[in-house]
């Protein structure tokens, strides 16, 4: 089991290095190797998840598993999107994100005394995981958008690769991610709230836990983004920054969860 984890992490690390290398050298054909390595890493993680499931530990049964699962979904989304769009540059952001999450998940110790979550709890964790993964991918697209935009504004052509994704595609894909992620994340918040209420509600001190507030703030940011996009025509530059802001909030939530389970 430990070997499988190590190999997985190694494969993700190699794929990250290859995608980052591609970003710096922009040699055509280099991404095919990177993509291949990522596919192997992805398959290994799938096997790992399968083994955990067989052992009664499904991907949303605990924070630890869910964090790794978010990374898995990001890698999957990147591989899938790569079939239709030229997104090799996104690999330099998406794959290291998957790697980080996987390592985080393996660092967090299993929670032996954790209460059984029940169907509602698992639904909440599953939806939250899915929502975070989709938003994470939107954030990757936003980073790419801003990077490409800066280059075009400054007319730094020397490193302009011909296989970059056009701004319009990045912007459109980002919007699609947010409009899928928002309802999913909304449901995650609702199920979370109901779940906690069923467990007997929160003490006043617990209700002000920073991760809850942060999650609601991130949810609001994405909501504003969708509204502004439809209502006021916010797109491109501002939409990308707002996406990043929202995701930063979510990432903090994730980090707080991990830290709390470590302590």
């Amino acid at each position: 089991m430990a070997t499988l984890t190590a190999v997985q992490i190694l494969a993700y690390a190699l794929a990250s290095a290859l995608f980052l290398g591609h970003l710096l050298t922009t040699r055509p054909g280099a991404t095919r190797v990177a993509r291949g390595v990522l596919l192997i890493a992805f398959a290994l993680q799938l096997v790992d998840i399968g083994i955990h499931c067989a052992g009664g530990e499904n991907p949303v049964s605990s924070t630890r598993e869910a964090v790794g699962f978010v990374g898995f979904l990001i890698a999957g989304a990147f591989l899938l999107a790569g079939l239709r769009y030229r997104l090799s540059a996104a690999g330099a952001f998406a794959v290291p994100a998957s790697l980080t999450l996987l390592v985080l998940a393996r660092v967090v110790p299993a929670e032996p005394g954790a209460p059984r979550m029940g169907a509602l709890g698992m639904t909440h964790v599953f939806l939250a995981t899915l929502g975070v993964a989709v938003f994470a991918f939107a954030a990757v697209l936003a980073v790419l958008y801003l990077r490409e935009e800066t280059r075009l504004k400054k007319k730094r052509f020397d490193r302009m690769a011909t296989d970059e994704t056009p701004l319009a595609t990045l912007d459109g894909l980002g919007l699609r991610c947010v409009s899928v992620g928002f309802p999913v994340f909304t449901l995650a918040l609702v199920t979370g709230a109901v779940w906690i209420a069923r467990l007997g509600g929160l003490a006043a001190s617990e209700a002000r836990r920073p991760e809850y507030l942060m999650a609601v703030a991130a949810w609001l940011a994405f909501g504003v983004l969708l509204l502004a996009r439809v209502g006021a025509g916010w797109r491109g530059h501002r939409a990308a920054w707002l996406t990043l802001g929202g995701f930063a909030g979510l990432f903090t939530v994730l980090l707080l969860y991990v830290l709390r389970s470590l302590s």
Partner: protein, 458 residues
């Protein structure tokens, strides 16, 4: 370095001849057949192909005496063009043997082009060879040389980045636009003013599926341009309305002051709900106010940006071209090796045929002269003859295989073998031949001394 290839090229290009001379020799596609037949009718010419583009006219030929063929061709060309042979000779260059192969390889790899790395030339070289095949003036030598040329061209394209980036202003503009938009289908291009370069870029975008709207201070001029490109016009007074519809704006007016100001674009962007806008400013003085570039989701490229991008690409191509030249050298060396091997192969086959045939004939005579020999004795007789013949063949065969490919001694060694044994080796080439002709020794050779049809098991 002599390569023993009966191949030559005579031609002129943008490097040696001005346009008016090239024009005289240029030919329309429907004339190719007649011209090729004219060339092929010249005494020393065995095979011939004509490469005619706007930058070069070159005749590639195979002939046992390339120099004589070139002289005859030069006269023929001067007559056709209606100029003095001496005058034409100033612009013509001739290469023979390996140098001609080297030249063809460079041309096909787009290293000799006006714009290095431009992609059309390979298609044109292919067309030249196809024409020669269609008009039955191509043969084995041309097939071998041209297929070598296609190989190096593909290799250069694959292994270098020579043709990766465009170098003309209009194609650079389109390349820039591709970084912003995912294709031009359904996009609207607004052409402000009617300069020639704007015209070119708009036309190219239209070819990619964009709708073109033309606006100009003089309506009649706008209508003229719109009709030519296949677009529609928009009143110049309503520039705001035109901007609201546009995704890409190409500005090339002769206005003294910037026409597309920041307030104007800002207002349009509000109406456009912040959709991406790309302004290509190819006017001097500029049509787009520099402050416009600060607006979100608006991108501006002026003539200097585009020119710089084109220049950078051109420099990049030159660096890549050095790598490509080295590849051409390698491929020429490889080609020569293969070509010489092809000359040696048929000679070895002929030598085996001759010796084994002789041995069999002698064995048959001996058997006929000794009536009453049993089947075993007859077989022994044939086997003996074959064994002696093969022993004797071994050393010359090895010597030919080893030495036949030598650039200096090879040709004379092969010729000596052919003379000593009176071998009738078909010359390379002949109309309708292919590059692979003669490459499969053994298939047609006599492999055994035993009479045909006598199945004898050992």
């Amino acid at each position: 370095m002599p390569g023993g290839i009966d191949f030559a090229v005579l031609g002129l290009s943008h490097k040696t001849a001005p346009l008016d001379v090239r024009e005289r020799l240029a030919s329309a596609p429907e004339q190719i057949g007649e011209i090729l037949r004219g060339f092929a009718g010249l005494e020393p010419v065995r095979e011939v192909a004509l490469l005619s583009t706007c930058n070069r006219v070159e005749v590639y030929l195979a002939a046992p005496d390339p120099d004589a063929a070139i002289a005859a061709l030069r006269r023929h060309l001067a007559e056709r063009a209606g100029v003095e042979e001496l005058e034409l000779a100033n612009h013509l260059y001739a290469r023979v043997d390996v140098d001609a192969v080297h030249h063809l390889f460079r041309v096909a790899a787009s290293l000799d082009s006006l714009v290095i790395g431009e992609p059309q030339i390979l298609g044109q070289v292919k067309q030249a060879h196809d024409d020669a095949i269609a008009h039955r003036t191509a043969g084995g030598v041309l097939a071998a040389c041209f297929s070598g040329a296609f190989r190096i061209a593909r290799r250069v394209r694959r292994e270098t980045e020579i043709a990766r980036n465009p170098v003309s202003i209009s194609s650079v503009s389109i390349e820039f636009a591709r970084k912003i938009f995912d294709g031009f289908q359904g996009r609207t291009v607004l052409l402000v003013g009617a300069g020639k370069m704007g015209d070119l870029a708009a036309r190219a975008l239209h070819a990619h599926g964009a709708e073109v709207v033309v606006t100009n201070r003089t309506l009649s001029r706008a209508q003229e341009v719109a009709a030519r490109i296949g677009g529609r016009t928009h009143p110049f007074e309503d520039l705001h309305g035109a901007l609201v519809q546009a995704d890409i704006v190409i500005a090339s007016t002769g206005a003294r002051r910037p026409l597309l100001t920041r307030p104007l674009i800002e207002a349009a962007q509000k109406k456009r709900r912040g959709r991406l806008l790309f302004l290509i400013d190819i006017a001097v003085p500029r049509d787009v106010e520099p402050e416009v570039a600060q607006l979100a989701n608006v991108f501006v490229a002026d003539i200097d940006d585009l020119q710089r991008l084109a220049d950078e690409h051109r420099d990049g191509r030159r660096t890549q071209a050095d790598r490509a030249e080295a590849m051409v050298e390698q491929e020429v060396a490889r080609f020569l090796e293969g070509y010489r091997g092809r000359r040696v192969g048929p000679t070895i086959v002929a030598l085996r045929d001759r010796v084994l045939e002789t041995a069999r004939a002698e064995a048959e005579r001996a058997v006929a002269a000794l009536p009453g020999l049993g089947e075993r004795e007859q077989r022994a007789m044939f086997d003996l003859a074959e064994a002696i013949a093969k022993k004797l063949l071994h050393r010359p065969q090895v010597a030919l295989k080893k030495g036949g490919g030598d650039p200096v001694d090879g040709p004379s060694l092969v010729t000596a073998a052919q003379r000593l044994f009176e071998l009738d080796v078909p010359e390379e080439g002949g109309a309708g031949g292919t590059a692979e002709a003669g490459e499969k020794p053994g298939e047609t050779s006599a492999e055994s001394v035993r009479p045909a049809g006598q199945a004898v098991g050992r």
